[in-house]
Every structure is written in C-alpha cells, then in structure tokens.
C-alpha cells in the first residue's frame, strides 16, 4: 500500500522551468541507519533530481536529519552509527570504504540548523576552507570570496568589515555566510538542515529567497518543518513518517502533487493538520 520509491512522474505539469527534464543526480537505494541498537530510519529509497530543490518534510524524530548526514558521510563521526544500503551520487558510490570523504564533502556542502561560522573573521571563515582545498593565490582567493559573498547577497553588507569577527553578524547574516562558505568550494549539491528555523521571520525570508535563487545551479536537499515554506520553494518533496518508532519514507513526488493530491492517507492527514 505504502508507495515508496515513486519513479519520477511524467504526467505532472512542470512546476519550475529549471527542472523541465528531471535528471537523477542522487540515487538512494534501501538505505537504513542505526545508532547502536536504535534504528533511526529504514528502507529509504529515493532519487533526487539535478538542479532541483527537494524538500524533506515530516514530524520530529523521523530521521530526516540523519538521512541528510548519510549523504556526505558525516555519520562517520558518530562511533555507534551503522549505515546499510546504497547511495550513488553522480556514479560515485558514497558508502564504499575507499571513497574519499574529503572530496565528497567538498562536492556536497551542508548548512546546519544553527548558523555555525567559525570563531574567526568573516574573511578567514571563507578563506580557510579554500586554502585547505588547495587555493593559495591571493587574488584568486579574494575574488572567490567576493563572488560567493555576492551570491548570497552579503557582499554589500560586509565588504567594509571583512576582518571583523563573523560571530558579530546577525543570525541571518551568519547563516548566509555559512551558505557562502559552502558555495565558495563550488559544490554540486547543498544539504540544508532546517536552515531557517533558528532565524527570525525577516532573516528567514531573506535566506529562503536566497535558496530559491540557487535553484538550477545547485542540487538542493532541504529538511524543513515549515510546510508552507516547502510548498513555496520545493520542486520535489518527500514525506518521512515514524512507524513503530522507526522512520520511513512514505510518499515522494512532485511538491505540487504531494501537497495538493497526496496519495497516502497519512500525508493527507499531516498536510491538512498543518493546513487546518
């Protein structure tokens, strides 16, 4: 009954021009994750299209964030964490032991719920990861910094105080700086873990507009609790649900279809619950 791994439906009208030709970038096949004895989610099969915004929605504790951390193997940092299944990103087998996680994480940026710039200056925050990935030339560095700050619309706000501590910025600015920090590394994909939930409504709106502006150039996977936001920005959506204490993916598809004509009764209930 539960529809999983729904293939990309062709009969739905395109929501946004950037995703006219859905082209799979990430393929997740029967992915499960355990923290020691406890299972976070099981049997998630999902494909994520290149250049689109895919939103992961669902109640708390259903494994959305854990799912996100599998894609860039941040799960390696948690000693008791066991991942089973298969993830392919652009033909790269992510979970294979010989995969170079450092390269992987450079290709896949991640934005966290709480803005977390390093306790360094604004410039150093952007410069330090770039240097680490082999960029030494000063002019190249400063142009990369300017480009990425312009991309997130922060350049005009901070260009005169690049050497000020990043922690002195407001929450929304910090979050945009974190996005710039990821973009500077020229990633192909961005993972966002509720990037707006720790921000005030106005900053949240700015960051949301920024995310929309990145559509097409980057593949974006965003976890959000804000269904209205997911409706506004997402091309595709996937709904996670907790069943018997274990997270499962219960419905996936075009965002428009999922929000307006959900097939799973649980989806209907969840969406109307928020609606009503």
């Amino acid at each position: 009954m539960t529809p999983i791994a729904e293939p990309r439906p062709q009969h739905w009208p395109e929501a946004k021009p950037a995703c006219c030709k859905p082209h799979p970038f990430v393929d997740v096949d029967r992915l499960s994750l355990h923290y020691g004895e406890k299972s976070a989610f099981q049997d998630v099969t999902l494909s994520i299209s290149r250049g689109c915004i895919t939103a992961l929605v669902g109640p708390s504790g259903c494994g959305k964030t854990s799912f996100l951390t599998c894609l860039n193997r941040l799960t390696d940092l948690i000693p008791t964490c066991v991942v089973a299944g298969r993830i392919t990103i652009d033909k790269l087998d992510v979970l294979a032991p010989q995969t170079d996680v450092i390269q992987l994480r450079r290709r896949i940026g991640m934005i966290f719920q709480k803005p977390n710039p390093f306790p360094l200056s604004i410039r150093r925050n952007l410069e330090f990861p770039l240097r680490e990935h082999g960029m030494r030339d000063r002019t190249q560095l400063s142009s990369a910094i300017e480009t990425s700050l312009r991309e997130v619309g922060l350049w005009d706000e901070v260009k005169d105080r690049l050497d000020f501590p990043a922690l002195a910025l407001s929450g929304g600015q910090q979050q945009r700086l974190c996005i710039a920090r990821s973009l500077a590394l020229a990633p192909e994909m961005l993972l966002m873990d509720e990037p707006c939930s720790a921000l005030d409504p106005i900053s949240s709106g700015v960051v949301e507009d920024l995310i929309v502006s990145l559509r097409g150039r980057y593949t974006i996977l965003i976890v959000t609790h804000n269904l209205a936001q997911a409706r506004r920005i997402a091309d595709y959506a996937a709904l996670f649900w907790v069943q018997n204490g274990i997270g499962r993916l219960i419905e996936t598809g075009r965002a428009k279809q999922l929000f307006e004509e959900p097939r799973n009764p649980l989806t209907t209930a969840y969406i109307s619950g928020i609606r009503g």
Binding site: N72, L74, D76, P79, L104, F112, F118, E132, L167, C178
Partner: protein, 287 residues
Amino acid sequence: MVEVATQQPNTREWLAFVLVWGSAVLVTATFCWLLGDIIWHGLSHLSWIFLTAPPENAGRRGGIGPILVSTFLILGVCLAVSLPIGIGTAVLLVEFTSDHSLFGRLTRRSLDVLAGVPSIVFGLFGNAFFCKTLGLGFSILSGGLTLACMVLPILIRSTEEGFRAVPSNYRLSAAALGLSRTTTLFHLLLPAAVPGLLVGLVLGVGRAIAETAALIFTSGYVDRMPESLLDSGRALSIHIFDLSMNVSGGDANAYASALVLIILLLIINGTVSWLATYGLHRKIVTV
C-alpha cells in the same frame, strides 16, 4: 511546647552561623599570618643583588642567581617534554578515541593513579630510572624529566576539559566543508581549547616549581651555576629546604627565597589569568 520547637532550630541556625563564619575567619587569619610572616622577614633581604649573586658560605650570605637559573632550566625541560605529550594525549582521548574504548579507559585509569602518586615516589622512580638506568646521573635533565612525569596528569586533565568545551558543531561543520581532521585540529579546535590549556599550564608549572621531594635525588644539591643540562642544579625549593634544615643561620636567606618562590608563583598565575581574561574578553566582543 511550641516555643521550644521553634527555639531549637534557631539555636542550631545560630550555632551553624558562628561555626561557618568562625572557620572562614580562622582560615583567613592563618593565611595572613603565614604570608605576612614571610613577607615581613623576606622583604628586607630582597634585592637585585640577592636575585643575581651566587650563594656564599653555604647560602648564609650571597644570593640565589645560579639557583634561579637551575630552577628555570628544570622547569624548561619539564615543559618541553610534558607539553607535547600532554596535549597529544588529551587530543587523542577527546578527539580520536571514544570514551568507552578499552585504550581510552586504560589510559584514563592509569592517569588517575599517576595523579595521586606521592612526590617522594616520583623521586625514587626518577632516581632509579633517569639517574641510574638511563645514566643521566644527578642532573637538571633527570630532574626535569621526573617533574614531567609528575605534571602530565594535571596537564592532560585540563587540556581535555578545554577540548570538551569546544562546541561540537565546529567539528561537524568543519567535516561538512571537507576539512581534514589535522586541519580541523590545528586551525579550529586547538585555538578554541587554549583557555583549558592555559589552566593546565598554570597548574602544572605551579606544581613543578613548588616541588622539592621529587628533585632531591634527581637534580641534586649543587648550588653552582649549571653549565649544561647534564650538570646537577639546585632548585629554589630545595634551596629553601637546605637553608632551613641543614644550615644554621640560613633563615634570613630562606625567608627571602621563600618570598621569591611565592612571587614567582603569583606572577605565573597572574600572567595566565590575565591572558585568559584577555582571550575571553576578545571572545565576548565577537559574540
């Protein structure tokens, strides 16, 4: 009847009040007595010449120049050895080992025991291992190495605290940016852990510079200016001990030496707490 019931707790409260304030006053008074006595007798002998001149007549006259040099050399050897090992071990315990692994547990347990080992036992060990087995003899090197063993647990404990105080999202976001663990460690974690490291440094230096028993049989008694690390050298604390116990008429210089030792400790303490507040201040400004 009711009156008695309310009376009793009041008496008890009053008694407790007196006892608590009494013990605080007693402790403060003793401390002032001790410090006042040493400052009173020591200050009159303290001078630049006392700090630089060599001791004469077994220390009754003259100064403590060579003794200060030996003390700093011993301290230098101690820190040069214990700092890298201590920081390395702390980093391994916090960043590279899970708390429940066998290696981590064993290391922690053995460090707990090491922290409690009496200093005279360190002296015995240093004498047997560094002086005899390794053939370093009574030397500044032996003394410094013995002290290094002694301050290691203190250093490791506070450095560990420092690293644990670093928010875990630094590690996550660094990893998400594809930074290697080495880079993360040296560029992010180590600078953020500096306050803990400084605390450890103060405690370690404090313990090392105050130590006497572990040095008697390792660095020796010789009060000449040391010419190399393999020379025997007399630490300041041993000088005080020797003047007061073995040299009649050495009390005046012992007082002055004790005052110098206390001032040294205060300077080290003050410098680092100033550094810590300065660092902290900068952090507060950035938030």
